[in-house]
Amino acid sequence: MTPRTLRAWSWTHKWSSLVCTVFMLLLCLTGLPLIFSHEIAHLTGKAVELPADAALVDARASLDAVVAAGQARLPQRVVQFASPDEEDPRLWYVTLTPSLETTTDFRPIAVDGRNAQVLAEPRFDEGFMHWMTRLHIDLFAGLPGKLFLGLMGLLLLVAIVTGVVLYAPFMRKLAFGEVRHQRSTRVRWLDLHNLLGIVTLVWALVVGATGVINTWADLLVKYWQYSQLNSLLAPYQGQPLVGPAERAPLQQGMAAALAGHPEKQVAFIAFPGTAFSSPHHVTFFLRGNTPLTAKLLQPVLVDARTAQVTAAPTLPWYLTALLLSQPLHFGDYGGLPLKIIWALLDVITLVVLGSGLYLWWARRRVAAPVLAREDAVDDELTSEAAT
């Protein structure tokens, strides 16, 4: 690599990292508790559990009763989603929002699926975890915030790739893993930065890239509706929104959706007029039973008036990519040990980011002649070691 090429790669690495580092530090810090959000919810009592009741062993209330129970709690709001609990499908969450517009103002009502009794109204829009979530996902700034963080993520990917290119000239004279602790603090941290960076390379790339993809979720869903759903739903063009009073029983709709996919179960339900459905359909998103298919969704659009299945389109590749980007980003697909390892890799990334910042800062403070002398001693020592 010529000195000029090295300078160009260094410049790109320096500036792409500098711009995104503060935000990446924030994302790594807020991400740390988010890895354990499920465990924290259980610890803080926000997780809901079905009360044991022998009388209710085989009881199942209709989906309509469950949703009605949720709606009754907050009559001034509308139901956007309903979903069974991932661990216990007898427990349902009915999500109510101020209107059908996309929002982060969710109020989930936990309803017992056996007898349609409201169990709890867990509040996720306040407290420490709420702050961690909002800072991490969009800096409290909605879609522009998400897209901005996505842009920072792209810079991170540039920083990582240029970092790999720069690894070669710096490691040509060193053994793998060699850290020159006996030299100056700056050299020591340079070696640590390179070591920790190269070891966590693939993890950082995957978490970074999937993070970027997740910031595009709203846009990808909108595009899907525009490109795929609109043609499927052309017969319904111009018809008004199907309000709650005009809808066929949800239980019937769910049965119709599941009838076509016996090996699947309901992941969540989107109601007419919401971002994930059409004004005239209830969309049942089904998921498979195996560990891999459980992460992929099959939407089934059921006519809200007649409870007939209108369409069950295959999700396009970009939505499949989005769905797989979620577990790969959260690290929640391999049990608690995986989450712990995820947290450790996150901490190592914090050290890579912090040391990078230190290296830039330290280099700025040191005069050029000192740097030149350091680099000369460096070359001398490594050529000695080679003989």
Binding site: K173, F176, G177, V179, L195, V199, W203, G334
Partner: protein
């Protein structure tokens, strides 16, 4: 000066193991999860092992006792 393929040999190995670890638990449960923990855990292990200074590293690793060449105490 090491040739490029030697510089990247260990990093490439670790990268492959990490990739396998990430995908393994995604595809299935049970032993595939364990494979994931081992693969990703080894990457963390390598990072920690080399990051810790040699003097402290000696205290971490079990020492072999050789009566002809006694290792000096730290």
């Amino acid at each position: 000066m090491k040739p490029l393929h030697q510089v990247f040999a260990m990093p490439a190995l670790i990268a492959t193991i990490t990739a396998v670890g990430l995908l393994s638990a995604l595809v299935a449960d049970g032993v595939w999860d364990v494979l994931s923990w081992l693969a990703l855990g080894s990457a963390v292990g390598v990072a920690v092992w080399f990051a810790v200074p040699r003097s402290r590293r000696a205290a971490l690793a079990p020492r072999a006792h050789d009566p002809l060449n006694p290792t000096p105490s730290p």
